[in-house]
Amino acid sequence: MEPVATTFFFYLLSGLAILSGVLVITRKNPVHSALALILTLLCLAGLYLMLYAPFVAGVQIILYVGGIMVLFLFVIMLVNLERSQKEKQFNQQWVPGILAAVALGALFVTIYIKGGALFVRPEIRFPEAENTQQVGQMLYSNYMFPFEIASLLLLVAIIGAVVMAKKKI
């Protein structure tokens, strides 16, 4: 099936993503930041769907929005201080920080302009209906070892988080 109004949805989603990305780094209240980040993540999930990556989109929603962001909100509630909102929000090196980031952005733009041809290749159209199966087969064949490492990493993260948050076990 051909996606409907691809151009429109691309600009809508990417515009929303960037707009809420700006909100993430400018809001005083971390809860508002988290809300904006959730919107960014959802927009990105939409972009993944448009890129024929439905499985990644699903994982994005279930893990990022349903898992990680809930964790963030949970922690924000625990550590939310009224006074931290009245304090200065940006640190002293904000000018060099922004300059460095802008320089980085300029670098990206240069690369994209100079090497535009590099990124233009014929699209490989996977049958969308098979996406999950193909990703699954890849995970369990080519990427078996990284997959196991990732599970180990998660285990370490669980233990680490418990150790950190609970000082005396």
């Binding site: 625990l78 550590v79 609970k166 000082k167 005396k168």
Partner: protein
Amino acid sequence: MTDSTSSVSHLDLDESKKTFLDANELILNMGPQHPATHGVLRVILRLDGEKVLGLECVIGYLHRGVEKIAEHRTYTMFNPYVDRMDYVAAVSNGLGYCEAVEKLLNIEAPPRANYIRVILTELNRVASHQLWLGTHALDIGAMTPLFYTFRDREEILKIFEKYCGARLTTHAFRIGGCQYETYEGFEKDVKKFISFVAPKIDEYEELLTTNRIWVERTKNVGTISAKDCIAYGVTGPVLRASGVKWDIRKAQPYAAYSKFDFEVPTGQNGDTYDRYLVRMAEMRQSLRIIQQAVDGIPEGPIMAKVSKVMKPPVGEIYHSIEAPKGELGYFIVSDGSTQPYRVRVRPPSFVNLQALDLMCRGQLVADVIAVIGTLDIVLGEVDR
């Protein structure tokens, strides 16, 4: 549970006892407008996450000065006021007061009156326990028992209504006996009620006693030892559930209780589940007493000779009975006039409520609700 229950602030806690949420202690104000505080009890909880570090009861929202009112009423006139203390067991309140004044006047109610008193009081005990069960179960989240118990309590209230015209604040007894003779068919009604309600009690037990969630919610919750019970002066089913076999009906029999054969159910663990079992058993024992009383009710007068103007001799008296919630005592000082010099009530709910802090420390918020329910307090009696 001993150490973490200390009432010190989380900042003074040992490092090892701090928990995940120790970052800030939460003061939660529960009540006086809260669905599970049985009226207008206000409990200030100090929480560590969901764990209760300590709590404080604020009472007095229903204070009407019943004891002070007594000083300006004659002995007879004060009688209806006591019904308004524990309004779900008004008959017991009346019985205690009437017997205390009778003791002061040195008269005794005739045997038939005593039998009627026992029947009505025990009926009221069943009604009170039913109301307790319904609300307690509702607090723990089981909705349905509430409606079952209220349906069956209705039958008791109907008997009260037929007997004396009132359902809740009955004012059934008078000093010296009973005002009203039993109505036509009273015994039949009571017997019918017994055969009606006995299977219903099984029905409540079917819903709850072996229900896994109920058992998990009540076992080892709000445990109080026999020693603590005695130290705090806790009486009634709460005391008996801790294993102390103390029932004033047996220990210092009043009315006609010495004539009946019944058992005093006790528990061992002193937790919420045992208190539940004890009260369920008590309902069955009450039915046994009522059965015996109805079967053996003697003929005769129902009122002793009492002068219209009561002037008890100078002196003081303490008389207590076993109300559904515990020992209900009346301390009356007479100065020889028609009005008492001082009346002091020992309300079981008030005394039992003291143990709330002890029973809730170290438990969770949900357990506070369960414990308030299991203490079976009536705020009308706590505040008087």
